[in-house]
Amino acid sequence: MSRNENNFAETIVSSSMRIDGELKSNGNIKIDGIVSGKVQTSQDLMIGPNAQIDADLIAQNAVISGTIKGNITVKESILIGETGRIIGNISCASIGIKEGAYFSGNCKMQEIKQVAVNSSPEIEEE
């Protein structure tokens, strides 16, 4: 875990910590430890490769490199890394899954809004 990743998160659960209950934050959260219950943030969530989560996750964006048993609700994008394992349902607007990742569950994505295209002016014939 580099210093840049430390700078990313306002709340950090290191690998030596175990949390049971509801972890809430208004800032970014980084988890490398064991969490059971619920994790909720209005910003971004990073799950490290050694993390073991048995909880529902709610975030703006998420990067998953650890093991999750629970449902994930992300407003924008979720990226599952090559060491990420998810057993549960995902709800998001955008999803990325790297080769080697494991995902078992349903994925519900927001509908892509159709953008109205203005008709191009007719080209005048010479």
Binding site: N6, N7, M17, G21
Partner: protein, 282 residues
């Protein structure tokens, strides 16, 4: 009316006379002279505070070190009084409050830049800065920045603590740590964690066991108490922390033990009305 509670602390008589001269001349220069009272074994801070309140003092100034300010704050719990601070030498709280010297502090007492500051409370004792347990960075001989063996052995021989705590009644946590801090305010300038004593939150840092190589690599962060810059450190924010174990673990403010676990530490938002300097760190 200004009431100055002067605590020479561990200063020698000669050192105290020198700073006392500087103090009185600064108070006269900025026209904030008032009633002065010196702390003694027969007249502790609490007695002097009672006298000050009986005389109708509206601004009570602690003159001394961080312990003096903490005693004054605790003695004034529940009172609607403005608190000032004149450090006789640079301390952690003097840097946080932006009052770097006697003359500078007196000038800002005259300016009366008053702000509301959070206070932490543990077992009915208020604190303004931080609580430490396990390894205490304040005990490190800071002059030995070149990594004295004594400092290194202090850290490496620190036992691993199994810390159990609950936060805001919303979750329970267990962590293995060699040191920890519960911060309301601190002087360390950190880009990743700005411990703001007006945000209504306590910042909890837990430092896990490090290898000797990692300790050497992060010695500056360990010495300065910037644990959040060490990759394996935990950072939690909470309004109330209840530390359940290990039992009997001393909790310190500075070098003074103020409580032992199990203990509950809460934040009292905007509880203290205090005069600050322009260079304050919040």
């Amino acid at each position: 009316m200004y009431y100055y509670i002067i605590d020479p602390g561990k200063l020698s008589q000669k050192q105290f006379e020198r700073v006392q001269n500087e103090l009185y001349s600064s108070l006269s220069e900025y026209r904030v002279s008032g009633e002065n009272a010196r702390v003694s074994p027969l007249r502790p801070v609490s007695t002097l505070i009672d006298t000050a309140l009986a005389r109708g003092a509206k601004t009570i100034v602690a003159v001394g070190n961080d312990d003096t300010l903490h005693e004054v704050v605790n003695a004034l719990t529940g009172q609607d009084v403005v608190i000032g601070f004149i450090p006789l030498f640079p301390t952690e709280l003097s840097e946080i409050l932006g009052l770097s010297s006697i003359n500078y502090a007196c000038r800002h007492i005259a300016f009366r830049r008053i702000t509301l500051m959070d206070a932490g409370i543990i077992n009915k004792t208020l604190f303004l800065s931080k609580i430490t347990f396990g390894f205490n960075p304040d005990e490190i001989n800071k002059s030995a920045w070149t990594w004295g063996l004594k400092n290194f052995s202090k850290i490496s021989n620190q036992p691993l603590l199994d810390v159990r705590f609950s936060s805001d009644s919303s979750f329970h946590a267990t962590a293995q740590a060699t040191a920890g801090m519960i911060i309301n305010a601190r002087k360390t300038n950190s880009q990743t964690l700005h411990s703001d004593p007006s945000d209504g939150m306590l910042d909890v840092l837990l430092l896990p066991k490090l290898s000797k190589l990692a300790m050497f690599k992060h010695r500056k962060e360990i010495f300065s108490g910037s644990y959040e810059n060490i990759p394996t450190c935990s950072v939690i924010h909470s309004q109330e922390i209840e530390i359940a174990s290990p039992e009997g673990m001393p909790l310190r403010v500075g070098n003074r033990i103020i409580a032992k676990t199990p203990a509950t530490i809460k934040i009292l938002p905007k509880a203290i009305k205090i005069i600050v300097g322009r260079d304050r760190q919040f």
